[in-house]
Every structure is written in structure tokens, then in C-alpha cells.
């Protein structure tokens, strides 16, 4: 079995420099880097196998179609669900839009949509749209002052409010918190709420088993799990998925078309009009193969060791304020230095080659709940090393000195 610490050598981008400094990539929460096999797969497709899928009898098209469909099987296996329950989309954002707009038609003004205070805008705004169109109201499952979901309160709200929808993130992109979605889904299932889980950040770090979690919907983006941009997926329990109305229309999704009437195919095809992101799907297939070859327990252990190390190094710097759950975490740390603006520190860190994210991370409501303007965010992945963290900490100390100097 592979040594996790060696895997970083499979990621060509990690060897590049920024100016005259080696790159220290601590922004995997924004997008993961890609291993060589993913880059090769996309390259191979365009240089050797390019053709459209689901059309044409010629061998190129048949082979592309079969490889394309195999990736759906791979993702289904990765998530422990069945292939017909997987829809390819352009990303988690589109997946959430398909679900929210589809559910809108079955909502009325008596209904409640329950979301958590941790959500990314992609799991807030589509529900606001649904609420506006249907008259339903949105309630928020609150967090404590550190930014951790108040689970007893959340479970109580589900039981008491009997929401039509419970939408919650599996892991927070801003704070890294892992939500106890098993208990949230369990309680939501008791009141027959439709459960929608945003797994965008969890997909690579946690390898979710959806047949154990028993949620109705689960979404993610390929680019945050070693795959290419422009591709995501929507999982839905088959009956619930197939009951959603179509979102975009066009070719490929149809059963029969005449000028007066069209009938649609069943899911997943009914949600996949037009030519799909073939190279993206094939590249993601290579990413899934790569992830599957890594023992998940060892990957988690390695990432947790890095996380704990980074956390302890940050905690030793006087004036650093850390937010979020420090125990159940995918390896993402949000912090500030005293009252300093995150922008200044991020800009200085960049001059040391350190790439991290600063700002509100598309979670403005969460940031304002925490009573701040934004944070600096380190998001780790298994291809980071202890040396990355050492370089980052030294750069941070130097930046602080420059500011205080």
C-alpha cells in the first residue's frame, strides 16, 4: 500500500514556484490539485478518443460512451449507491439548484425549509428562491460562538418544526467542521422531511457512505476531489430523484418529441440534456480510481495528523484567533490575527509563496454570525506535508512582524 506522504509527488503543480518562492498550496477547500493520472486521462481523451457519447454507432463513440458510463458506476460505488441515482451536473451549485427548484412546486406557505448557519451561499440562495416562489419560510439551525452547530438545538428544531426540507452541509468550507449529519438525517427521516446534504467539502476527505447515511439527496463537485472543474453530481434516492421535474431541457433527455408534446426519459437522463462534460467525467473517473487506491483510514489519519500539527503551531502564536470545531474537522482552519484585516496578512503570505484563501468564503451569513469581517483559511489535503505547515507558520510569523514593525 502507498505511503500517504509520498503521494504529493503525483501532483505536478505542487513543484512550481510563485515568484522566487516554492508554492505552498493551502487552498484545497477552493479546489484540489490534480494528480498526473487525471491530467493524462483528459489529454488521452482529446488526443486519442474524442467523440460524442450516446450517439453514433461507430467504435469511437461506443467506446467513449462505455467509458463515460463506467465513471457513473465508479462514483456510485464510491458513494455506495446505485448508478441510476447519480446525475452529472456542472457542479454542486447546479445540483443544489436542480433540487431546490424541483422541490419548489411541492412547497406551500405552511412549509418550512430548515438550513444550518454553516451553509455555503450555494445551499442558501436556491432555498431563498424556493421560499420566495412558494411562500415557504426558512429557519436556521444555529451555531455556538465558536461556529459549531448546536446539535441538540438542531435536532429539537427538526422534531418541533417538522420541516418539509432539511438542507445541511456535511462539512463546512469555511470552518472545516464535520456535521453529525447521520443524526440530523435520522431525525429528519422521522418527520418525513426531505434531506439535502451538501457534500462538496466532504467528498474527498470523508468518502461518505450514502447507504448508511440514508439521506434523500447529496451533492458535490469533482474539482474538490482531484477531478476537473465544470463537473459535479447530484445523488438522489431513485423515487425522489425521478419525481423532481426537469430543470434544463433539450436533446438526449427526451423519450419522444413532436411539435405538440414531448415526453421525458427517466432519471438520470432527464436531468442531462445536451452533450455532457465528457472529458470532465473521464478525468473524474481517473480521480476516483486514484482515491480508491488509497486506504481511507490511513488518508484520514494522515490528514488529521497534519490538521492537529497546524492547529498546535497556530495556537502557539500570540494573538491568533481560531474559529470552528477543532475536534471534528476535515482539516480546514479559519483564523484571524488580533484585529488585523485578513487581506493584509493574505497578501503578505502570498509573497512567501503561501496560497490560502481570505475573506468570507461564500458564507457571509456565517461570518456575520461570528461577528467578524472574514477570516484567513488554511485548507489541507493529504498531498500537504509537515514541511508545508512549517513554511507557512514561519511566513505567518514574518508577516505579523512586518505588520507590527
Amino acid at each position: 500500500m502507498n505511503n500517504i506522504a509520498e503521494l504529493r509527488h503525483d501532483f505536478p503543480l505542487l513543484t512550481r514556484a510563485v515568484g522566487d518562492q516554492p508554492l505552498i498550496y493551502l487552498d484545497s477547500g477552493a479546489t484540489s490539485q490534480k494528480p498526473q493520472c487525471v491530467i493524462d486521462e483528459i489529454n488521452d481523451f482529446y488526443s486519442k478518443n474524442n467523440s460524442n457519447v450516446h450517439r453514433g454507432l461507430h467504435s469511437l463513440s461506443e467506446s467513449a460512451t462505455s467509458k463515460y458510463e463506467q465513471v457513473r458506476d465508479k462514483l456510485a460505488k464510491y458513494l455506495a449507491v446505485s448508478s441510476q441515482e447519480i446525475v452529472w451536473t456542472s457542479g454542486a451549485t447546479e445540483s443544489l439548484n436542480i433540487i431546490a427548484s424541483g422541490i419548489t412546486q411541492s412547497l406551500s406557505s405552511n412549509d418550512i425549509i430548515l438550513i444550518s448557519a454553516l451553509e455555503h451561499h450555494a445551499n442558501i440562495v436556491p432555498w431563498q428562491q424556493a421560499a420566495q416562489l412558494s411562500g415557504a419560510s426558512i429557519h436556521i439551525m444555529p451555531i455556538d460562538k465558536y461556529g459549531v452547530l448546536d446539535l441538540p438545538n438542531a435536532l429539537d428544531m427538526i422534531t418541533r418544526l417538522k420541516p418539509a426540507v432539511v438542507a445541511c452541509t456535511h462539512a463546512s468550507n469555511t470552518l472545516g467542521n464535520i456535521t453529525d449529519i447521520k443524526r440530523i438525517i435520522g431525525t429528519a427521516n422521522q418527520v418525513n422531511a426531505t434531506t439535502v446534504i451538501d457534500g462538496t467539502q466532504a467528498l474527498m476527505h470523508l468518502r461518505p457512505n450514502l447507504s448508511e447515511l440514508k439521506c434523500d439527496f447529496y451533492v458535490g463537485s469533482a474539482h474538490k476531489a482531484l477531478g476537473p472543474t465544470g463537473l459535479g453530481f447530484l445523488f438522489g434516492k431513485y423515487d425522489k430523484l425521478n419525481a423532481l421535474p426537469v430543470f434544463k431541457t433539450g436533446g438526449e433527455m427526451i423519450d419522444t418529441v413532436s411539435f405538440s408534446k414531448t415526453t421525458y426519459r427517466n432519471a438520470p437522463a432527464k436531468f442531462e440534456p445536451g452533450t455532457p462534460n465528457i472529458s470532465g467525467v473521464l478525468g473524474f473517473g481517473a480521480a476516483l480510481d486514484y482515491l480508491n487506491a488509497i486506504d481511507i483510514a490511513r488518508l484520514k489519519e494522515y490528514e488529521q495528523t497534519l490538521f492537529k500539527y497546524c492547529l498546535s503551531q497556530l495556537q502557539e502564536i500570540p494573538g491568533i484567533i481560531i474559529y470552528g470545531d477543532m475536534q471534528y474537522n476535515i482539516g480546514t482552519i479559519s483564523f484571524n490575527y488580533r484585529e488585523e484585516h485578513h487581506y493584509d496578512i493574505a497578501t503578505l503570505l502570498n509573497s512567501y509563496g503561501v496560497a490560502l484563501r481570505s475573506g468570507h468564503h461564500c458564507t457571509q451569513p456565517l461570518i456575520s454570525e461570528l461577528g467578524i469581517q472574514g477570516t484567513l483559511r488554511v485548507s489541507l489535503a493529504f498531498y500537504n506535508s509537515h514541511a508545508d505547515i512549517d513554511t507557512f507558520i514561519t511566513a505567518l510569523k514574518n508577516s505579523i512582524e512586518l505588520i507590527e514593525g
Binding site: 488585523e340 484585516h341 487581506y343 493584509d344 503578505l348 475573506g359 505588520i403 514593525g405
Partner: protein, 111 residues
């Protein structure tokens, strides 16, 4: 950093929404007017981040004391290029230096 410290802070009463330049990750407030003689420009401003404030100090020094006609001739982009600071004007920086320069030019064209 040092330049930022040399630029006096604006009193809170001047940090108004009208003076706020939008479209930046950092907040930037700018006031621009003519001095008592009605000839020369007076510019004051502030930012909540040190780096933008420092860059802002450079921008202000380029325009302060000029007549509007002279100021219109200034190519702030070229000046930043010579100072080796042009990367701070790239749109992805989102720091608003570009927005500051554009706002100044926009106001000048109204005179």
C-alpha cells in the same frame, strides 16, 4: 506598511457610504474636492487594510495639488508600472486600487 502609517486616518464621520468605493474586498473611502482657491485638488481617504492604505497614499500623492486639467493627464497605471507595483492593479486582486483610480478619473471628468 510604512506609507500606510504615514497617512492619517479619516475620522469616522467621513467614512460615509457615499464615500465608499465598492467592488473591493477591503473598504476604501475617498473624498475629492477643490481647495479654497478653487484651482487645486484636495484628496483625502482611508482604507481598513494597511496595504491598500499604503497604495492609496501613493495614488493620493499623484493627484494632490494638481488642477483637474493636470490630473486628467495622469496615467496612474503607467506610474504604478514604473514603481513595480502594477500587480496590485490587477483585477483579481480585488483590492480596489484599480477602482480608486477609476473613481478619481470619473470624478475628474465631471469638472
Amino acid at each position: 506598511m510604512l506609507l500606510a502609517k504615514s497617512l492619517p486616518s479619516l475620522p469616522d464621520c467621513l467614512k460615509t457610504d457615499e464615500a465608499l468605493i465598492r467592488g473591493c474586498e477591503s473598504k476604501v473611502w475617498l473624498h475629492i474636492d477643490l481647495d479654497e482657491s478653487q484651482h487645486n485638488l484636495v484628496l483625502v481617504g482611508d482604507s481598513d487594510t494597511r496595504i491598500v492604505k499604503g497604495l492609496f497614499a501613493i495614488v493620493l500623492s499623484m493627484y494632490s495639488g494638481l488642477t483637474p486639467a493636470q490630473a486628467k493627464e495622469i496615467d496612474a497605471y503607467a506610474e504604478f508600472e514604473t514603481l513595480g507595483l502594477i500587480k496590485h492593479l490587477s483585477p483579481s486582486r480585488g483590492n480596489g486600487v484599480r477602482a480608486i483610480v477609476d473613481t478619481i478619473q470619473d470624478k475628474l471628468s465631471q469638472w
